[in-house]
Each structure stands twice: as structure tokens, then as C-alpha cells.
Subunit: 156 residues, 4 copies
Amino acid sequence: MKTSPYEFKLKRQVEFGDTDMAGIMHFPNFVRFMEAAETAFFRSLGLSIVTTGFDQPIGWPRVHADCDFIHPLRFEDTVEIHLLVREKKTRSIVYGFIFRNLNEHPAREVARGTLVVACVTRNSHGGRMVAVPIPQPIADKIGVAPKEVLEKIYKS
Amino acid sequence: MKTSPYEFKLKRQVEFGDTDMAGIMHFPNFVRFMEAAETAFFRSLGLSIVTTGFDQPIGWPRVHADCDFIHPLRFEDTVEIHLLVREKKTRSIVYGFIFRNLNEHPAREVARGTLVVACVTRNSHGGRMVAVPIPQPIADKIGVAPKEVLEKIYKS
Amino acid sequence: MKTSPYEFKLKRQVEFGDTDMAGIMHFPNFVRFMEAAETAFFRSLGLSIVTTGFDQPIGWPRVHADCDFIHPLRFEDTVEIHLLVREKKTRSIVYGFIFRNLNEHPAREVARGTLVVACVTRNSHGGRMVAVPIPQPIADKIGVAPKEVLEKIYKS
Amino acid sequence: MKTSPYEFKLKRQVEFGDTDMAGIMHFPNFVRFMEAAETAFFRSLGLSIVTTGFDQPIGWPRVHADCDFIHPLRFEDTVEIHLLVREKKTRSIVYGFIFRNLNEHPAREVARGTLVVACVTRNSHGGRMVAVPIPQPIADKIGVAPKEVLEKIYKS
């Protein structure tokens, strides 16, 4: 049985506008990059975070985000954002992220983070978001990183 | 006859996250601050840029923006964004902006900019934006800076 | 003995540019607002995050950030960012943040977060950041929230 | 005689965080993308906007920016930012930018802008920026778009 993809790597180069007066990448950009990797992961599966074509439009509000900052990134550093699906629950997904600075040799881990997103739809009257099960056609395309893979990465 | 307001002053303090590695405010923030002053001006008139309560929802897409950068702003500088309505046309408004650094004595002009916004609505079928006349209840509340006021500011 | 301040409340209004296509405040802005509250807290103590006047310039790199998103914020909502000093260690500070939407009555908690910052200086040769004890004149001005205060807030 | 490059094309995909509640790319991002194209152009020449290795460090403060917004960009649109060197003066460079949405067929022009940057250095005492001639090794690498090229693009 084929396993659905459970990881994705996005490369980004730190822009001048991503830096702050300390000369390093301003830290909320790490959080922004997590979302960029998540949406690129969905595209790689033929999906989009902005979902159409289901019975009712679903959305993916962010429920939790965290990040540990280990080493700074600087202007023109190329960073690899390594997304791993850590958990796929009925109504939510837990993503882990490892950030690596590819301008250092060997590439150096500079941060790691987590993003938890819920699957929701809106009441028919335009209003409240309600958590719903991830539609099967989406859930089928998203794998979960095997325990060994996660252990190897998170113990290092 | 009462004249409607044609100017507004908003104060903002430059945040750490507004700076870049050159140690000064990253320049797209000047453009962002223009919009902040525009929306605050609307609120001061009892209006909102996000309009409800008219026959059809209208929007204000940006048609043009420009800015001349004269002196840099730094972290924790307090900047006054002085908005002036330079022109009010049937379907668009031209705003002028003077940025003054209030941390210098006397306050120093650090930038000046322009923002042109169009008044639009959407076709009933959810689609294309179409320019429409500014609804009268909105147009009535927005004055235009007298020629003398503009000349005094723009010649200085 | 006088207790140094251990909390601070900053008000911010959600700007048009803070929103995303889901119609709510884009979530990295919560993280940005934490930093805005931290720097405003320092100013309220007569300090600045960008420190001068000590033997060697110190900086406050972010070590960790997290945020739980409970309810969305929307354009023109006024949010209170309630900072509490949860821990003051020799070389780092742990801030807690409660976000409350003041446009709802009663004010509603919409998010809570944490920010951990380290106190560092740079080697004389322009290079590596090294963790150092928080200078006494700064440490003296920063209090720590009493256990009862934290329990009351974090149990609610 | 070899002509130095006078144009550069950068591709960017509109991210979720680039959008606003109107469902389109928030307009200051066009300005941010101009700078991204400028720094990528410099890299393509073996240069960096953050210059090292000259007698004194030089910088490129922004003097003027403008942009006309013709059609909106939406989430996941791929935009080509076409940079053209319109003028190369002793102490400044004028860049023109054409933005094209590559998700439409044929690609559609959605915006055009200008960025003027000055070449400066800092006084030895850490202070004021002073305009200086562009160092010859940099000036030699930067061409100027021929009149015919500019006319063809700007008349269309």
C-alpha cells in the first residue's frame, strides 16, 4: 500500500525586508515561513489551503504555533524549511518544522517549530467556524511521519 | 455651510519589527502607514474602509501609491502621519501624506507620499470590480483641502 | 520594599494590513504584538530593548515563542496585550501574554502566548553573541508576577 | 564592447500572508517585491546590496518609490517582477518594474513601479549618510536599458 507524503522541504532566501536592526531575520518570519511551507506542501499534493470543490468550503485556522530559535539567520542566507506531519487527527493536523541554514557547511539547524491547524467549516449563515472531520479526499493524501523518522530528527 | 474634514493626523511609534538591518525603518512601512492613516481618517468620520449598510458593498482598491524618502526613521521614533485630501473625484480620492519625526525638535519632515484609491463595487456574480461613484453619504463627509492649505504645505 | 512592575497592558487596533484573505488577523501578528508589548514595557520602565550606556551593549535575542489562538481578531478590533513577567532568571526573562478583544463586552480572551528572551552581549571582535547576566540596573527595574496573580490568570 | 546586464526577472508566488481581507495581495507587498528583485539583480551580478570589500562600506537608501496598481494578485498567483535599469547616474540608480501575473494566459501586466536608490556612505564618526559616486567596480557591472527597450515596454 502506497504511503502518502508526510514531509516537504521548502527553500527560502532571507530578504533585506526580513531583517531587523539587530542585523538578523526578525523572528516572526520563522512563523510566517512555517505557513509558507504548509501551503507549499498542500500544493505539492495537488491541494490548496484555500479549499474549493467540497460540499462546503473548509478552512484551516491556526490553533497553536511555537518556535525555538537556536541560531540567527542573516540577509541572503538560504534556509531550508523541513515540514513533517507529526500527527493527523480527525479534525486537526500537527506539523513539525526544522529550519536549516544551507549557507553553512554542513547545513546547520537554526530553529524548530510546531504548527497545529484545525479543519473547520462555516455555518450556513456566514458565521461561526465549526471544527469538522478532514474531508476524506484530503486526509487520504496526507501521510504521517513514521515514529523512527521523528525520533531520529527530534533526538538529534 | 459647514466644511467636512479634509485632514487627519495619526501618530505611530516605530517598532523593532519595523526596522531593517540598516538600522532604520524599512521603507514599505511608510506605505503601510499611509493606509493606517486613511483608515483612521475614515473612522474619525464615523465611517469604515470596509463599508456595510449601502445598497451594495463598496471597496477602495489602491490605484497608485508613491513616496519620497527624505530622512530615515529609527526605532522608537514617534512619527506623525499628516493626511490631506488633495482631490475628491466622482469615483476616486487622492490623499497626500506628510511624515514628521516628532522626536526631533522642531519636528522634522522625513517623507511625503500620495495614495490614490478608487471606489468600486463588485458585479452581482461575485466577480469583477467596477468603479462606481462614491456614495453620497460618504462623499458628503469628506472635505477637500483648500488650495492655500496645500500650497503652504507643498511649497515648504 | 517597593515591588518593581511585573505587568503591562498595550492596546492595539487591528489594521487592514494585519488581516489575511480569511478575513481575520494573520496569526504571525500575534507574535509581533508580543514584541511590541515587551518593548513598550521596557519604555514604561525608562529602559529600551536597544540598550546603550552599559559597559558593553547588550541585546535580547528571542529564544522561544509560542501562542495558542482561541478566537480570531478582525479589522478594527481593539486588542489588549497583557504582558506578565512569569520568570526572571539570571540570563533570561519569560514573558506571558494574554490577548483580549476589547470590542466584545465583556472583553474576551482570544489568545495567550509566551516569549523567552536571553540577555546577550557580543564578543569584542564583533562576532558571536554570548549570554550574560542581566545588568543589575535593568534587573532591579523588572519585577516578577506573584504566584497568586499568575494562578488566577492562567487557571481562568 | 560587452554590455552589462540592464534587466532581471524574478518570480514570486503570492503567499497566504501576503493577502488581506479583500482577498487580494496587500499593496505594500508590491513595493517589497521591487526590493526583492533589486537585491536578486545584484546577486545575479555577483554583488550584494549589503556591500563589503570597498574602502568604506556603502549603502543604498531608498529615495523614491511609486507603483500603479492595475489588476489585483491573488493567493498562489505567480508573479514575474521584471526589473529594468532606467537610469544610472553618478550617485543614484532608477529602476523600473513591470509586474506580470503568470497565472493568466497570456501573462497579464498587473502593476508597474519605480524605485530610486542613492549610493551613500557614512561619515567616519558613525553618523550621517553622505551621497557618494557609485564605486566603479559596481557601476561597471550595471547596464542601462536602451531607449528602444524602454519605449517598447512603457508604450505598451
